[in-house]
Amino acid sequence: MVAFKSLAVAMLKGFFRDKMAVFFAVIFPLMFLALFGGLLGGSGGSEIDVEQVGKVSVLDDAPKEVRAYLKESLDIHRTSDEKAAIRKVRTGDADAMITQRGDTLVVRFSQADQVKAATVQGTFQGIVQSANIAVTGQQPKYALEADQVEDDSLSTIQFFTPGLMGWAIASGATFGAATNLVVWRKNGLLRRLRLAPVPTWAVVLARIAVSVAIAAVQAAIFIGVGVGLFGLQLTGSWPMIVPLLAAGTLSFMAIGLLAGAVAKSEEAAVGIANFVVLPMAFLSGSFFPLDGAPGWVTAVSEVLPLKHLNEGMLDTMVRGEGPGAALLPIVILLGFAVVVSAVASRVFRWDD
């Protein structure tokens, strides 16, 4: 127990004193979070700027609840200068201009932002139709109830935090285990420990504890920055990320140990780890969602542990699923860790 503790402390000190390792494990992924959160977060707002010229009865005479609903999605400015309003739309300062000519509602929009163009057309189409029905004095027969499947507070940060955090933890655990193994084998420390009255399991357990501790620090910083700076909102069963991260760390540590056992030098170990982690991060949806990806990509991603970690974290952190959603990913991650560790232990060497 004393041996385990002192080994773990030595490894932790070694990690936190390695400025490069800390940079790549913590700061570098946070830079991506800031980039994605800042860049994409701004355009994520779906409010539409509308220039209203003159009186538009379908808007002005709409019932209270409709007006309240419109207020949420439309930001209406009143003006009397139609030409100036159109110019605003053309230069992108406004998204649409509306005015009423007789019984016709005229909408002018720019095709520059196609998503907004479609939204503008759809919104006003709906307004005109409901106004038409209202004129007939009949109660509408059909009603539409639309609600997004995610939590209400949906925004880019909700998607990127779990993915980038998964990537950060995958890199941290893989690189940490790989370089640790190679360096200790090269400098003879593994042999030295073999001649000390320390059971092998104490060395392995110390490495596991350190990897999990580093992952916990990464997760705490990520969630802290996400909530504090970018308005990340966690949903109910987010504490399930604790067992998820532990299982994920074991998987990536196993990959790292395999890389470290195969590699002849520290540089080779880093190369192999990079070769594995970076493509895995792309294919697992850490940087962008896989919804539009071709079928073979999704098929490949199924065998990648990071994909299951990301899915599990998305489900429990932001999609509002119950704690049960984490169980299958945890089982898959643990299975992956067992298989890869078994392979790694076959190629493991105490010395060169």
């Binding site: 002192s6 402390v9 009255p197």
Partner: protein, 300 residues
């Protein structure tokens, strides 16, 4: 203190190469024992079998009643090991290395200061090992091997790659290890080191022990002549040749050198003639023994 070591018929083969080819020796409790030989002689592999890092392909090792390759904690607690490379934890200070190794052996933290003192690293205690010089690293790694006050100490080429000052410096540390009655096994490819430190030396080459004895006995057994030199012009060459006991005389610009197997007699003659200017007397060394045994240029 101390432990008895017996190695019998050790063999280790790598592919076609017999790295160790039937090595046997015993080390008495409290003895300072040296394995001397050039790089590739099989010293380190022999040492690794004795430590228990490798199981011999044939032959056996015993340290007291233990078989080291079984890696029993009771035996390992009595063994101190210093490996060839500087095997340290990355980015820890000298003090932290000693504390960590101490904890692995269940030693109270107080020993750290004592060890820093013993190897002269008190003022480097808070420096990271990466910032230590080669000699300081070696001293620290010896301190790490001694932190748990072991009965047997294994030192694998502790002075390799050190400058002469650092080597001599380390010799003092190494001598003190043995003072307290510990058994020490050292490998080295420095003849003078084996001569200066070891009670007995096994000279190895190509996986075999060629000769095993005290350094003095090895040199004596060689029956090598002594070379006596004096400054140029001190003595006439013909006069030197005429001296009883002089086997050979070389008259060179740097001086006159008499080769003899009876140095006492020659020296008396020289003193008698008041011809002792710039006198130097060179006896045979372990290096001569080694060259005599292997019959070729020393390749270290």
């Amino acid at each position: 203190m101390g432990a008895e070591i017996t190695a019998e018929g050790l063999v280790m083969t790598y592919g076609d190469v017999r790295a160790v080819d039937g090595v046997s020796f015993t080390v008495a409790s409290g003895e300072f024992f040296g394995l001397l030989g050039p790089n590739g002689a099989g010293k380190t592999t022999t040492l690794e079998m004795v430590e228990g890092l490798r199981r011999p392909q044939s032959g056996s090792v015993r340290i007291d009643d233990h078989i080291p390759s079984k890696r029993e904690p009771e035996l390992q607690r009595r063994m101190g090991v210093q490996l060839q490379a500087s095997s340290f934890f990355e980015r820890l200070t000298a003090r932290e290395q000693l504390d960590t190794f101490g904890a692995l052996y269940g030693v109270a933290a107080g020993r750290t200061d004592e060890m820093l003192e013993q190897v002269g690293l008190v003022d480097k205690a808070d420096d990271r090992t990466e910032d230590l010089s080669g000699g300081q690293k070696q001293r620290l790694s010896i301190a790490c091997a001694l932190i748990h006050d072991p009965d047997v100490v294994f030192l694998d080429e502790p002075t390799a790659a050190l400058d002469p000052q650092a080597r001599r410096n380390l010799w003092d540390v190494l001598r003190s290890i043995n003072d307290s009655g510990r058994t020490v096994i050292l490998t080295t490819h420095y003849m003078d080191e084996a001569e200066a430190l070891c009670d007995r030396v096994a000279i190895m080459d190509a996986g075999r022990i060629l000769e095993l004895d005290t350094p003095a006995a090895l040199v004596r057994g060689l029956d090598a002549p002594v070379r006596i030199s004096v400054a140029p012009g001190t003595l006439d060459a013909d006069e030197a040749r005429a001296m009883a006991g002089s086997d050979d005389v070389a008259d060179e610009e740097s001086g006159l050198t008499i080769t003899t197997r009876d140095p006492a007699r020659i020296l008396t003659e020289l003193a008698h003639r008041d011809a002792l200017d710039g006198l130097s007397v060179k006896g045979a060394s372990l290096e001569d023994v080694f060259l005599d045994l292997t019959g070729r240029e020393y390749r270290a």
